[in-house]
C-alpha cells in the first residue's frame, strides 16, 4: 500500500533531519563550545570602575585648600556613549535629564574644588578631570592624594543591571591621603597681597615672596605672582602654573652674605678686617665697579661697611682672599647646587659650576651674586643658617600626610641639611645683617618692635641664552630674619624687573617689613624692642 510505504519514507526523512540536528548540536556544543562560551562571557562582562576619593589639601591649621565635591554629569547611550554635560550641580543635571526622559542618564562624578581660589595657586596646583594631579602639590604628591582606583568585574544584562547570581570579582578602591601643608593661609594671604601691590607699584614682571620658619624650615607662605585660579586653570597661560620659586635666578648682592660668611668661616677675614676702598678693580681683563658711587670714609673700609653699603669691590677682595676652591666648597656647604626637596616637582638645582671650570672673573662676579644662579628656596635655606647657629634648615612645604580615617599619619620636617658654618660665624653674620638694617641699605626693612637682620640685592638681569646682562634691567630682592636673638622667620622678597626705583632696598624692603611685622604679630612672637 503506497500510504504505508510513504509514511515509512516520511519517518526516514525525520530521522535524517534528527541526525542533522544532533550533528549540529555536537558541533556547536562540543567542538565550538569554547568559542561560544568566550563570546557569551565577553558580552556580559561588566567592569565597574570604583573611583577613589582624592585626598584634600589643607593648610597647617586644617583649612581646606583643595577638596573634591560631588557633581552630576549627564550622558546618553543612544547612538553610542557621549557626554552631554559634565560636572553640573545636581538640580541642573536633573533638569537636563528631564528635558528628554529616557534619553539622558545622570552619573555622579567628583570634581576638584579650590575654595580659596587664587590663594597659593602655584603651590597647591590643580588636578585634571580624571583625578590626576597636573601641577603643584597636586602633582608632586599625586601618588598619595589620588588613592587607588578599584573595580568590580561582574556579569550584567544588556541594560546594565547586574545578573542575578553574577560572579563578582572585587578590587576595592582606596581613598587618597590628605596632605597638610606647612602653609598658613593667613600669612599666605598677606604675603600675596603685599607682593602683588609692590609688583603693581613697580610695574614689574613678576615676583616671589617666601616666609619660612627659620628653625624648622617649614614654609609658611609661598607666594608667586602673577597667578591664576586653579578652579579655572585652563584659562590661564600655562607659564603661570609654575611657581617662580622653583626657578634659578642670579641672587645679586644678597649673595654677599654667603661671601662674607665664607671669609669669616675660613678666617681670611674677621669682623675687624680692613678692605681697600676701591671704586673699581680689574680681574682677568674685566673691570669690576660698584653699583653706585660710594662716599668713602677713608682708604679702607670694614667688612660691615662693605655689606651695609653693598660694595662690590669689597666683596671681591674677600673672594680673592678665599680663592676659588675654598669659596666653591663653602658655596656648596650652604646647599647651593643641590635641590632642597622642599615638596614641589620641577625644582631647579641652580647653576653652580665647579671651580675648576671658572673663568678668571667668575670668582669676583660670584662674590656679589652674579655668574651664579640659585633658587629662592636655596637662598632661604642658606641664610637660615645664620639664624640657626650655622645649621641649614631643610625647607619643607609638607607638614603631614594622613589617611582620611585618620588611621595613618606621617609627619614631615625637623630635618637639617647640615652645618654650613660655625655658631660663631653665624653669630657674626647676625650682627652684620643687623648693621645693614640699622645703618645700611636695609633701613627700609626696620621694624618698630622687632630687631631685624637682612640684606638687599639688586642683580643685573642676565640676558636669556647667552652671557652678558640686560642694560637697565634688574631683579630687586631682600632677604632677612627677625627677631634677631632667636629668629622665628626668614623671609625672601624678589621683584623681577621693577621700573622706576630699581633697588632691593626701596622695592623689596617695605614689603619685607609689612610681611614680617604681620607674621610675627600673628604668630604671637614677643617683641624684642620697646
Amino acid at each position: 500500500m503506497p500510504t504505508e510505504k510513504r509514511i515509512r519514507l516520511l519517518f526516514i526523512l525525520f530521522l535524517i533531519l534528527f541526525a542533522a540536528i544532533l550533528i549540529r548540536l555536537f558541533l556547536l556544543q562540543i567542538v565550538q563550545h569554547g568559542f561560544f562560551q568566550a563570546r557569551s562571557l565577553e558580552q556580559r562582562t561588566r567592569i565597574i570602575n570604583l573611583s577613589a576619593n582624592r585626598g584634600d589639601i589643607l593648610d597647617r591649621n586644617g583649612e581646606i585648600l583643595a577638596t573634591s565635591i560631588d557633581t552630576y554629569s549627564v550622558f546618553t547611550q543612544k547612538g553610542g556613549f557621549a557626554w552631554v554635560a559634565r560636572k553640573l550641580p545636581r538640580a541642573e543635571a536633573e533638569e537636563l535629564k528631564n528635558t528628554e526622559p529616557g534619553r539622558y542618564i545622570v552619573l555622579k562624578e567628583k570634581k576638584r574644588l579650590y575654595p580659596k581660589g587664587r590663594l597659593a595657586a602655584q603651590t597647591i596646583g590643580f588636578a585634571g578631570s580624571d583625578n590626576q594631579g597636573l601641577s603643584g602639590v597636586e602633582l608632586a604628591w599625586d601618588k598619595y592624594l589620588k588613592g587607588k582606583a578599584g573595580r568590580v568585574v561582574t556579569e550584567g544584562d544588556p541594560g546594565g543591571r547586574e545578573l542575578y547570581g553574577a560572579v563578582r570579582e572585587i578590587d576595592p578602591s582606596e581613598d587618597g591621603l590628605s596632605v597638610t601643608l606647612t602653609i598658613d593661609k593667613n600669612i599666605q594671604f598677606i604675603a600675596e597681597r603685599e607682593l602683588e601691590a609692590q609688583i603693581r607699584r613697580s610695574s614689574a614682571i613678576d615676583g616671589t615672596l617666601i616666609v619660612m620658619n627659620a628653625k624648622s624650615g617649614e614654609i609658611l607662605a609661598l607666594a608667586s605672582k602673577p597667578d591664576f585660579d586653579p578652579n579655572d586653570y585652563k584659562k590661564a597661560v600655562p607659564r603661570l602654573w609654575r611657581s617662580r620659586c622653583l626657578d634659578p635666578y642670579e641672587p645679586g648682592s644678597t649673595f654677599k652674605l654667603i661671601t662674607a660668611a665664607a671669609g669669616l668661616e675660613e678666617k681670611v677675614i674677621s669682623l675687624d678686617s680692613k678692605l681697600k676702598a676701591l671704586d673699581s678693580l680689574e680681574i682677568g681683563g674685566r673691570i669690576i665697579k660698584n653699583s653706585h658711587p660710594i662716599d668713602w670714609p677713608g682708604p679702607t673700609i670694614s667688612v660691615s661697611l662693605m655689606l651695609e653699603q653693598s660694595i662690590n669691590t669689597g666683596a671681591v677682595q674677600v673672594g680673592l682672599k678665599l680663592g676659588p676652591e675654598r669659596f666653591y666648597d663653602r658655596i656648596r656647604k650652604f646647599g647651593f647646587g643641590e635641590r632642597t626637596g622642599f615638596g614641589l616637582d620641577g625644582e631647579s638645582v641652580g647653576i653652580v659650576r665647579h671651580w675648576r671650570r671658572w673663568y678668571k672673573p667668575d670668582i669676583a662676579m660670584m662674590t656679589f651674586g652674579q655668574s651664579i644662579a640659585v633658587t629662592p628656596i636655596q637662598l632661604l635655606s642658606a641664610v637660615s643658617a645664620f639664624a640657626n647657629h650655622g645649621r641649614l634648615a631643610a625647607p619643607t612645604l609638607i607638614k603631614k600626610i594622613e589617611s582620611q580615617d585618620g588611621k595613618f599619619v606621617k609627619v614631615f620636617g625637623g630635618e637639617s641639611r647640615g652645618q654650613a658654618v660655625s655658631d660663631k660665624t653665624a653669630a657674626a653674620m647676625k650682627t652684620l645683617m643687623r648693621n645693614i638694617v640699622l645703618s645700611g641699605s636695609g633701613r627700609r626693612a626696620q621694624l618698630k618692635r622687632f630687631s631685624v637682620g637682612g640684606k638687599t640685592g639688586t642683580a643685573q638681569k642676565s640676558a636669556p641664552g647667552g652671557r652678558g646682562y640686560l642694560k637697565g634691567r634688574y631683579i630687586a630682592s631682600f632677604i632677612g630674619f627677625a627677631p634677631l636673638a632667636e629668629p622665628e622667620i626668614v623671609v625672601l622678597v624678589i621683584v623681577n624687573d621693577p621700573k622706576g626705583s630699581i633697588w632691593g632696598e626701596s622695592v623689596c624692603g617695605p614689603v619685607f617689613k609689612e610681611v614680617v611685622e604681620y607674621t610675627l604679630r600673628y604668630l604671637n612672637v614677643k617683641p624684642d624692642m620697646l
Binding site: F11, L17, F18, H33, Q43, R44, D157
Partner: protein
C-alpha cells in the same frame, strides 16, 4: 475491521515528558521578564493554566467521536477561516509589534492560526481519504488540496506570520505525499513552492535581511544577526552538560524570546548537549510512535489524520530547532509542548488527544 486497543502509552509518555520539560524551562527562563511585569511567576502561572486547559483538550480529543469530527470537518475549517479574518477587526483582534495574530478573549488571547493548523490537517485528511483513487490526478486529486493550502498560507502570511504559514504548507505537502500523490506533481510543486518562499523572502526587506543574516550572522551582529548569534551563544556555551538548570546567562535579555520561540536555546545552555539531544530524541520518539499509530490505523481517514497531525507537530519541532541552531533562516514558530503559549499548548495537546483516540480505535 476496527478493534479496540489500549492507547499508546509510549506516545503519551513522550508528550508528557516534553510538556514537563517545557514547564521546567519556562520556570527557568521566564522570570527575568516576569519580574519586569511585577511578578516573576507571571508566565509560569499562565502556562500551568494553559497546560490544564490543554489536558482537558487532550481528554476531549481522546473521547471525541471521530466520525462526527470527519463530518464536521468543513464546518470547522470555515469557522477557522472566519476566526482568522476576525484578527483584523479592531476591538476584537489584537495587534502586537505590527502583527495581527490574536483575538483578545479577556482571560486568554486566542491565536486562530493555531486552530487553523488542526483544521487544515482535518479537512485535508477528509478530502484525501475520500478521493484515494483520484489522488494521482492533477486536477481532481492534487490541485484542490494545494489551492486550499495555498489559500490558508496566504491568509496567515498576511498577518504576517511566515513561520506558521510554512508549518501549514509543509504539513499539507507531507499529507499529500503520504496520501500517495504523484511524485512528479509533488516535485514540481515543491520546487515552485520553494521558489515562492524565496520570492517572498526577497520581496520584504525585513525577510531578506533575515535570510542574509542566516548566511552570515556576524555581518550584522547588532542588527539582523543579533537573534541568531545570541541563540548560538546560548546553545554553544552549554557544552556537554550545560551550565545547570536555572543558570542560563543568555536568558537575561541577551536572547530575545527566551521562553517562547527560542526556549530550546536556553534549554541547550542550561542542560547542554545531553539535554538538547534528549529533547530532540523525545520528538523523534513522538514522530516514530505517532507514525506507527498512523500506520496501524485501518480507516484511511484516521490514518491520514494521524499522519497529518504527527507531521504537523514533528515538522514544527524540527523547524523550530533548526532555526534555533542556525540550520535554517530565522522564522518565528514555537516549539510544541515546550514554548510558552496559550493557544498552541491547548491545540497541540488536543491533537495529541485525537492521535491517542486513533491509537485506541484504529
Amino acid at each position: 475491521m476496527p478493534r479496540a486497543k489500549s492507547l499508546d502509552y509510549i506516545f503519551l509518555f513522550a508528550v508528557l515528558a516534553l510538556s514537563a520539560v517545557g514547564l521546567v524551562m519556562i520556570f527557568s527562563a521566564s522570570p527575568t521578564l516576569g519580574i519586569k511585569l511585577g511578578d516573576s511567576f507571571y508566565f509560569i502561572k499562565r502556562h500551568i493554566f494553559y497546560l490544564l486547559l490543554g489536558f482537558l483538550a487532550l481528554l476531549f480529543g481522546f473521547r471525541l467521536d471521530l466520525e462526527l469530527l470527519k463530518k464536521r470537518a468543513n464546518t470547522i475549517f470555515i469557522v477557522a477561516v472566519l476566526l482568522l479574518l476576525l484578527v483584523y477587526i479592531p476591538g476584537i483582534g489584537r495587534k502586537v509589534l505590527g502583527a495581527s495574530r490574536w483575538i483578545d478573549l479577556g482571560v486568554l488571547v486566542f491565536q486562530p492560526s493555531e486552530l487553523m493548523k488542526f483544521a487544515t490537517v482535518l479537512v485535508l485528511a477528509g478530502f484525501l481519504s475520500g478521493r484515494k483513487e483520484k489522488i494521482g490526478d492533477l486536477f481532481q486529486g492534487f490541485l484542490p488540496p494545494i489551492i486550499l493550502v495555498g489559500f490558508v498560507f496566504a491568509l496567515i502570511v498576511k498577518q504576517p506570520d511566515l513561520g506558521t504559514a510554512l508549518t501549514i504548507a509543509v504539513t499539507g505537502f507531507v499529507m499529500l505525499f503520504a496520501a500517495g500523490a504523484d511524485l512528479r506533481h509533488l516535485g514540481a510543486f515543491g520546487g515552485l513552492g520553494l521558489l515562492g518562499v524565496l520570492a517572498l523572502s526577497i520581496a520584504s526587506p525585513y525577510r531578506l535581511r533575515r535570510l542574509l543574516s542566516y548566511l552570515d550572522p556576524w555581518q550584522d551582529p547588532q542588527g539582523a544577526g543579533f537573534q541568531i548569534i545570541q541563540s548560538l551563544l546560548a546553545v554553544g556555551s552549554g557544552g556537554l552538560l550545560g551550565l545547570g538548570l536555572g543558570a542560563s546567562r543568555q536568558k537575561y535579555f541577551y536572547l530575545p524570546q527566551q521562553f517562547t520561540d527560542f526556549i530550546f536555546a536556553i534549554l541547550c545552555e542550561e542542560l547542554g548537549f545531553i539535554g538538547g539531544a534528549a529533547v530532540a530524541g523525545l520528538f523523534c520518539l513522538f514522530a516514530a510512535r505517532g507514525l506507527l499509530i498512523a500506520l496501524s490505523a485501518a480507516d484511511p481517514f484516521k490514518k491520514l489524520l494521524a499522519a497529518g497531525l504527527v507531521a504537523w507537530v514533528a515538522s514544527q519541532a524540527l523547524l523550530n530547532i533548526m532555526v534555533v541552531i542556525g540550520l535554517v533562516p530565522t522564522t518565528g514558530i514555537p516549539l510544541p509542548f515546550i514554548s510558552y503559549g496559550g493557544t498552541a499548548t491547548i491545540i497541540n495537546l488536543f491533537a495529541v488527544g485525537v492521535i491517542l483516540n486513533i491509537s485506541r480505535k484504529p
